[in-house]
């Protein structure tokens, strides 16, 4: 059975505006892909430890030495909108 998904909710979480056609197509496609993906549960037993990284490295540290940082103009080179030395964005509202 394909998995049922609340596409509008997931699109909101993902911050992607979908057209109604995209939402319909994705709902069907993701349902099928997730049905296939859910097969992992057939073998993922309780006692198995999860693996996050295939070749894990721990406590990778380097000396904390000051280095020149990216100049402001370089950092802002790709900004679609700016004000002075800052990235400019539309109003940020409360999400209540």
């Amino acid at each position: 059975m394909p998995v049922e998904i609340d596409i509008a909710h997931v699109a909101r979480l993902a911050r992607i505006d979908l057209t109604p056609e995209e939402a319909t197509t994705l709902r069907a496609q993701l349902g099928v892909i997730l049905e296939h993906a859910a097969r992992v549960r057939e073998v993922a037993t309780e006692d198995l430890p999860p693996t996050a990284s295939p070749v894990p490295r721990v406590n990778v540290l380097r000396e904390d030495e000051p280095e020149p940082s990216l100049p402001v103009e370089e950092a802002l080179r790709n900004a679609p909108d700016r004000e002075g030395d800052r990235f400019k964005v539309p109003r940020i509202t409360e999400t209540s």
């Binding site: 979480l13 992607i16 505006d17 296939h36 992992v40 198995l48 070749v55 490295r57 080179r77």
Partner: protein, 490 residues
């Protein structure tokens, strides 16, 4: 007719060192080939001919002083357009980065260019490296030089096609689920995915961080070894970079496979594998046995679950990595007035991402969302443990494993474009190596009845690229075929 750009890196480097050719001559040969074939292939998104000539001229001046040359010096090199290049736009095959110009070079390119390699251009790819056919590029598909109506594979299809067609002598790509090995197989070139962490990812635009690996496209195994010798070695700017300095992988490359234990992956010859592919791979195994290797049957019993695990892990990590494209820092913002920042971000992402990228971000967002995390991502990570254990058990009995790289040869453009699951199955033999972090290589091993190249995949334990390259080199030498696409015969 074979021109300079059709030769391998080792041959060109020897001629350059001997003073038989200049770097400018080599680079011009490659640039002329791009002009000739790229209108048909569309392998390049941003060719860099002027920079290439300037760089080659500088190198010829340096060379005339008699200074020793690195084996990569003067060699025309292409980079997949997911690798950041200072001052040269880097699009990831996406509209959302159409005008993004990075302010720095990634480490892989810094190391190659520092040794004198010459960039001839940035190559086309599936958007954010998500795809197996290159049809997901926002700038149009790449065509396979062996048959222009077919895909080159993906996601690094532009790099594979460029090397196959002589437009570059070698190229870098990235491999998250097979994106170097599968296009190498479909285009008849050598594709190396080293151990996870072997090549620094600083400056690689992230897709799935626990899987992404920088890899190489070359015409010979020796060239792959040469590139890895320059690209390897710890980079303090990448916390996942393996410890230790770079080593010379060309040492011992020709020591042969006598006594090497070769395991044939039994699970990789089932349903969906074209008979021509299975036959060529079995013939390759016979060849290795003839060279003195001992051959047996190996098993990866959980390989059947690797695809399922991959399509939870990779999209989950992608949904997180691609959250940074918010219309604020990387060039593109959806036009018009926006009520607030969230509306601006959602409109920008809706307009800037293509269908496959949206599909994977949505999939990953769902798999990581409250109430589903443990059921999907958590379970997939457990399967990953099983895959790693499978390899550990197999490598107790064998030094290298062999299988087809891809179940099929190059398929027609459009054939699988509307069926994501059918497309995902292309990577069924390449994905397990990414989940386990082990090094793997695709080497051309034959031509099918339709005249299309077939790839043999060899896999070795974590950190053992030396054995992997030695086995691949022995096979390549024994086969002794030149893989040259018909596009160049005209």
């Amino acid at each position: 007719m074979s021109e300079l750009c059709d030769q391998d890196g080792a041959t060109l480097s020897a001629k350059l060192t001997a003073g038989e050719v200049s770097a400018v001559e080599i680079v011009r040969s490659s640039l002329e080939r791009i002009e000739r074939v790229d209108p048909q292939l569309h392998a390049f998104l941003t060719p860099t001919p002027q920079l290439a000539i300037e760089r080659a001229e500088e190198l010829d001046v340096y060379r005339s002083s008699g200074a020793p040359l690195s084996p990569v010096a003067g060699i025309p090199t292409a980079l997949k357009d997911v690798l950041a290049t200072n001052g040269i736009r880097t699009t990831c095959g996406s509209k959302i980065l159409e005008h993004y110009v990075p302010p720095y070079d990634g480490t892989a390119w810094t190391r190659l260019s520092g040794d004198g390699a010459v960039l001839v251009g940035k190559t086309n790819c599936d958007e954010f490296a998500m795809g197996s056919s290159n049809e997901n590029s926002a700038y149009g598909p790449v065509h396979n030089p062996w048959d222009l109506s077919r895909v080159p594979g993906g996601s690094s299809g532009g790099s594979a096609a460029a090397v196959a067609a002589g437009a570059a002598v070698w190229a870098l790509g990235t491999d998250t689920g097979g994106s170097v090995r599968q296009p190498a197989s479909l285009c008849g070139v050598v594709g190396l995915k080293p151990t996870y962490g072997r090549i620094s990812r600083y400056g690689l635009i992230a897709f799935a961080s626990s899987l992404d690996t920088v890899g190489t496209f070359t015409r010979t195994v020796r060239d792959a070894a040469t590139l890895l010798s320059v690209l390897g070695g710890n980079d303090p700017r990448d916390a996942t970079s393996l410890e230790g300095d770079a080593v010379d992988y060309t040492q011992g490359l020709e020591d042969g496979v006598a006594g090497l234990r070769v395991g044939v992956v039994a699970e990789a010859f089932g349903e969906g594998v074209e008979p021509g592919v299975a036959g060529a791979v079995r013939a390759a195994v016979d060849r290795l046995e003839g060279l003195g290797a001992s051959v047996g049957e190996a098993h990866l019993p959980h390989a059947d679950y690797a695809l399922s695990a991959y399509y939870l892990i990779a999209p989950s990590e992608a949904s997180s990595n691609l959250a940074r494209y918010d219309g604020v820092r990387y060039g593109f913002r959806a036009p018009g007035e926006h009520a607030d920042s969230v509306a601006m971000m959602s409109a920008t992402r809706g307009a800037g991402f293509g269908a496959e990228v949206k599909r994977r971000i949505m999939l990953g967002t769902y798999a990581l969302s409250a109430g589903y995390y443990e059921a999907y991502y958590g379970q997939a990570q457990k399967v990953r443990t099983l895959i790693i254990r499978d390899y550990a058990a197999a490598f107790e009995g064998f030094d290298v494993l062999v299988s087809p790289t891809s179940p099929t040869t190059a398929f027609a453009i459009g054939a699988k474009a509307d069926d994501p699951m059918a497309m995902y199955l292309n990577d069924i033999f390449t994905i397990p190596a990414n989940l386990a972090g082990v090094p793997a290589i695709s080497v051309p091993c034959g031509i099918d009845d339709a005249g299309l190249p077939i790839g043999l995949q060899l896999t070795a334990p974590v950190r053992d690229e030396r054995t992997l390259l030695r086995a691949a080199s022995a096979f390549e030498a024994d086969l002794g075929l030149q893989f040259r696409p018909p596009l160049l015969a005209a």
